[in-house]
Symmetry: C2
Subunit: 178 residues, 2 copies
DNA sequence: CAATGGACCGTCCATCGTGGACTGTCAAGG
DNA sequence: CCTTGACAGTCCACGATGGACGGTCCATTG
C-alpha cells in the first residue's frame, strides 16, 4: 500500500483522532503549513483514494454533510511504511530569483521596490517564527518539537542575510556596482 | 497579455535567440535550474499558448521536426509587463521535515539514516555551488551574475547548519534529549 | 424573535507542475 | 554500413493550487 507524501501526511494527522476533510485541511495548515502545504481540494481527493484502499474508514454523513474519517489498522501500517521510505528532494521555487535573473530589462526603481517588498515579507515571517519559538520554549517545548520551526528560522535568517549582502546598500540593486 | 511565470521565463530565454522547444528546455535547466525548474512537457505546453497569443512566432518545421520559436514584439512587451509585476510567494516543500514532524513513530536507527543521507545531499550541493562561485569569480563574474547563485549558497549553508545544530550529535536524532 | 453573517463542509473545475514512456530523425564514429 | 546517442516532439497519468459554488448550522445582534 504505497501512498504519496500528502496522503501519508493525512494519515499522520488522523492519528490525533478522526476528522472531517475540512478539519484535516485545517490541521494540515496549522501543523505542517509552512513546509508542506495541502489544499482543500487535495485533501478530499487523497481521502477518496485512501478510503478506496481501506486505509481510512468513512463514517456516516452527519450534520452539514460532515463525514468523519478514521485511521484503520492497515492505514497505520501504510503510514509507517511511508515514514521509513526515502524522502524526495526539496522543492524550492523563488519567483523573485526568476525576476532577478532577467532584471537587466527592468526599471531599477521598480526593481528596488520589488526587492524591498519581498524583504519585508521575509522579515515578517522571521518575526513570527521567533515569537513561536519563544512561546514554545515558555511552555516547555523540547528540541524535538522545535526542529521544523528551527528550520524555518534558519531559512528566513539566511534569506534576510542574502537580501542585505547582495541587494542592500552596496549591492547591485541600489546602484554603484555592475 | 498576462503570462504566467514559466511562460515568461521562456520569453526571457528567447531573448538570447530563437530556439526549439527542446533547446529551451535545456536553456531553462542550465540557467534557471535550481530555483525555477521547467520540464519538457511544460515547455511545449506553454509554447503553444504563447504562439496562440502571438507572443512567439513559430518557424517552418525543419530537420527532426524542429520548430524554431522567435520572440515577437508583443512577446517582448508581455515579458516586460511580467517582469514588473509582483512576484508570488516562495514555494518550499521539504519532505524530510514532513517525516520529522511525524518521527515519533519511526525507528530511531532508520531516522538517523534518513537524516544522514539528506545531509550528504545538501553538502554535495553546497560544494557544487562553491565551485560554481569560484569559477564565476575567476572568469570575472560580477555581483549581478552571482545573486541567484549566492541565494543557493546561503540556503545550503543554513540547511547544513540546521542539520548540525538540531540533528547532529547532541540533537534529538542521535539520542539523549527529547 | 428574526435575520444575517460567518464558520463549517463538501464539490467541481481550470490551470499548472512533474516525470516517464514512446516515436522518430539525423550525425558521427567504430 | 550500422549502431549509438543527441535532438525533437507527443502523450499521458498523476500531483498541486486556487477559486467558485452550493448548502447547512449557529450565535449574535438589531
Amino acid at each position: 500500500m504505497a501512498v504519496n507524501a500528502t496522503a501519508a501526511a493525512l494519515l499522520g494527522l488522523l492519528r490525533d483522532g478522526a476528522a472531517s476533510g475540512y478539519e484535516l485541511a485545517q490541521r494540515a495548515t496549522a501543523e505542517l503549513g509552512d513546509f508542506w502545504t495541502v489544499t482543500r481540494s487535495q485533501v478530499y481527493r487523497e481521502l477518496t483514494g485512501l478510503a478506496d484502499q481501506g486505509l481510512v474508514e468513512v463514517g456516516q454523513t452527519g450534520a452539514r454533510s460532515r463525514r468523519e474519517h478514521r485511521l484503520t489498522a492497515s492505514g497505520r501500517v501504510a503510514f509507517r511504511e511511508w515514514l521509513a521510505a526515502e524522502p524526495g528532494a526539496d522543492v524550492v521555487r523563488i519567483p523573485l530569483l526568476l525576476r532577478l535573473a532577467f532584471a537587466d530589462e527592468l526599471d531599477p526603481a521598480r526593481l528596488r521596490e520589488l526587492v524591498s517588498t519581498q524583504r519585508a515579507a521575509h522579515a515578517e515571517r522571521l518575526a513570527r517564527y521567533r515569537e513561536l519559538e519563544a512561546a514554545a520554549l515558555a511552555t516547555g517545548g523540547t528540541d524535538r518539537d522545535l526542529v521544523t520551526l528551527r528550520f524555518g528560522l534558519r531559512y528566513e535568517e539566511a534569506v534576510l542575510r542574502w537580501f542585505d549582502e547582495e541587494l542592500g546598500p552596496g549591492g547591485w540593486v541600489s546602484g554603484r556596482r555592475g
